[in-house]
């Protein structure tokens, strides 16, 4: 039986053994990408470019049906870079079902700490245009539960 690939975008490495062995998720095969390492030492001028590059590569290799995004440390420390990378990925791979593990309110709260209003406004505009990233079907929401 061919399993459905699911990619988690998390802050740092997580152990997927339990989920991959889980009787609840026999239909799925889980993969992850730790975002923080591509944000901490990024030399790219475009915010989040390095993360976006690695995430694109991983998506091309794994071909996930779902991309589950964890709004954790990586988002809190690098909100602009992180969200730009996620929104870029959504536009490059529109067929991927995306799920976020926290609400849009939480995300906006995270953006409050930004000093530079131009960056924030640009990002808020992008978020407003891509609000659908927060819409989840039942199955995506179920998979998001793995990260809660």
């Amino acid at each position: 039986m061919k399993k459905i690939p699911v990619l988690f975008l998390v802050s740092s490495d997580i152990d997927l053994k339990i989920l991959n062995d889980s009787p609840r998720f026999l239909l799925y095969c889980f993969f992850s990408l730790a975002a923080i390492r591509y944000l901490e030492n990024s030399s790219s001028r475009v915010p989040g470019q390095q993360l976006q590059d690695f995430l694109s590569k991983k998506i091309r290799r794994v071909k996930p049906l779902y991309l589950i995004v964890h709004l954790g440390l990586a988002f809190e420390r690098y909100p602009v870079e992180f969200l730009n990378a996620v929104l870029d990925i959504k536009s490059i791979f529109p067929e991927i079902k995306m799920g976020m593990d926290k609400s849009i309110e939480y995300m906006l709260q995270g953006l409050e700490v930004l000093d530079t209003s131009s960056e924030k406004n640009k990002l808020l505009d992008r978020l407003a245009q891509n609000q659908s990233v927060f819409d989840m079907d039942k199955e995506t929401a179920y998979l998001v539960g793995c990260l809660h």
Binding site: D15, I18, H148
Partner: protein, 187 residues
């Protein structure tokens, strides 16, 4: 009037004028300096008050939040210990753990600004990682025991051993975290 008198009186008048001007200028600058230092002093006092207020806010937030987080750390570890020791574990115990796990996660995220400032967020987040593993194992256990538990004995045992492994991590970390939170509450 002799010319000498004129010269002397002119010299005196100009000396007086110069002295008066110097005196007035000095007074003016004295006032300016006094005003400048007084306003700086007021600014510093206000800054000190703000800093004092912030310090008090942080102390009261620590007193309000940290003991509760410490309690949750302890409860999660104890709850998991009981589940690993008792055979079979009960659904009530599993549900209790899931409830505490949710509360713990919510607490550390909602208060992360204070926790980050005190450089303890990362350790608490790491503890949360183990709790998430336990949560997923417990959900597996619930799933496996819901129907045909006999048929699933092997998988149930595997889940139990995963829980024991998570317990060893929680047991190893919980004392250090509680000690650190307690120290921060007392400072």
């Amino acid at each position: 009037m002799s010319i000498t008198l004129v010269i002397v009186s002119t010299a005196l008048a100009s000396t007086f004028g110069a002295s008066l001007a110097t005196f007035l200028i000095q007074k003016y600058y004295d006032r300016r300096l006094e005003y400048y230092f007084n306003s700086r002093l007021e600014e510093l006092k206000a800054n000190l008050n703000v800093q004092g207020d912030i310090k008090n806010l942080i102390i009261s937030k620590r007193l309000e939040i940290y003991p509760h987080i410490a309690e949750l750390i302890y409860r999660l570890r104890n709850n998991l210990k009981e589940m690993c020791q008792k055979d079979p574990l009960t659904l009530e115990q599993a549900v209790d753990f899931l409830r505490f796990a949710e509360e713990y996660t919510e607490q550390i995220y909602s208060t992360r600004l204070y926790l980050e400032r005190d450089r303890i967020f990362e350790s608490l987040h790491n503890y949360k990682g183990h709790i998430l593993t336990a949560k997923n194992s417990l959900l597996d256990w619930i799933y496996l025991t819901r129907d045909k538990p006999v048929k699933n004995t092997k998988s149930i045992n595997k889940t139990m051993s995963q829980l024991r492994e998570v317990y060893s991590h929680l047991d190893h970390q919980h004392r250090r975290l509680i000690r650190k939170l307690t120290e921060l509450t007392q400072t």
